[in-house]
Amino acid sequence: MMEFLSKLLDTSDFPPRWQTGNWTPEHGWLHVTADLMMWAAFTAIPIVILYFVIRKRDVPFPRVLVLFGMFILACGATHLIEACTFWWPVYRLSAVVKLTTAAVSWATVLVLIPTMPKALALPGLAKINADLAKQIAERSEAQAALSESEKSLRLANARLQQKNKEIEEFVYTVSHDLKSPVATMLGFVEYAMEDVAAGRLEDLSDSFPRIKRAALRMSNLIDDLLKLSRVGRLPLEPATVDIGKTVRELSEGMSDRLARAGAELVIEQGLPSVEADPTRFSQAIDNLLENAIKYACRQGGARIVVGAKSIGEEIWVCVRDNGPGIAPEYHERIFGLFQRLADDDEGTGIGLAIVSKIMQAHGGRAWVESSPGQGATFWLAFPHLGGAASR
């Protein structure tokens, strides 16, 4: 080995390059300078490549880059020896270094060729950017769709909760109002039993009519509740309704009651027609008339007027009475379920709730204008349905 090395460095068989041929100093130093510059550059390049590979870490094909580095380093070494041979003719070492360079170069070629398809398959930066931009767009679109559906879900949830609350309130009110006559019946039955046992018959004649009235009231409540639930359940069948004709027909059915109450019903002349479900329309007007008879006729000289007018796109129908009137704070409340302002045996507290629901089904509205002592005017506003009634 030592012998091989000393043979490799043995210069006895060759003269230094300066002594071969007619070198001018400029020519010789040009070679020496260029070779040394190439050696320096060829040494610097692999260091930079190595630095790049180490720092970057995710460089594709790092082994190819390492081979590149070695190949360039080897090239540099041949140039260094070229420069040295001007003074130190180590031509054997030069041959070995050149052979090593050739081997590393070919190894690089052999590794490079199979790598080429993979390298070609790598996407360019522009494409990567475009893909990324597309992905981002897709994701933000999905995000938007997601937040949209989340929003509608939240809305649906809020609507459900509202409905739930309404149902709870409904059950609460219904159970209270249905229990009230039951409480009456049980209370008086208890007394009646005591009275029978004690032979006190005089109180019995008071208890039984009360029990009967409570039972009738319960039956009316149930009937009205069924009507109310039907309003929301059955679809509207809109038609053109002659307001005057409908009210005249209704008034015929209640003429006896009007006469008994000493009330006068006035139907204004030339009332327009309205687009509405005829059954529901007449139910709403009937409830308003019943209401007026019940509350306005408590004092003598009651006068109930039915009128209508066209306001913009709507037809407004009114039932006006000259009764005791309603204080403003109750104007909204009376359209709620079981909201009665007076204690009476006749009213179930459902009539105006039915009117309000009928108007909702028509996409219209119901309200009252009144002040205490000034009578009350109940208004129903029917929109033009245009053949498409909303439920």
């Binding site: 409480a183 209370g187 007394y191 204690d343």
Partner: protein, 145 residues
Amino acid sequence: MAPHLVNFLLVEDDDDHAEIVVRTLKRNRIANNIVRLSDGAEALGYLRKCADGAPSSRPDIILLDLKLPKVDGHEVLAAIKSDEHLRSIPVVVLTTSEAESDRARAYDSHANSYLVKPMNFSRFRKMVDDLSLYWGVWNEPAPDS
């Protein structure tokens, strides 16, 4: 000994329920004076007059329904219990509502008792029995006087 005249204020919109209460009080021979009002607004007006100093009409006990026309029983109860002249008057809530929210709200407003109609009419009668005993004893002269 003349029986103590107990002033009852009954706030009840239902005539039949009011009659049951009145009959119960009469049959239990509580010698009483019953004022019956049928809506919350009336009750508040009456109690405000009492608070302003009409001692003869000041109720010794208030029987209060919760579902009342105009102003509901909860509001009446809250008004009574937040008035320094009225808050000492015991209030018995007599209602058909078994809803926990009503019971909780009534007790939060310092109702003294909560009785559900109709099942508790008998409890109400028991309570009236106890009350008559209480007022009877309360009305006895002190032993050494």
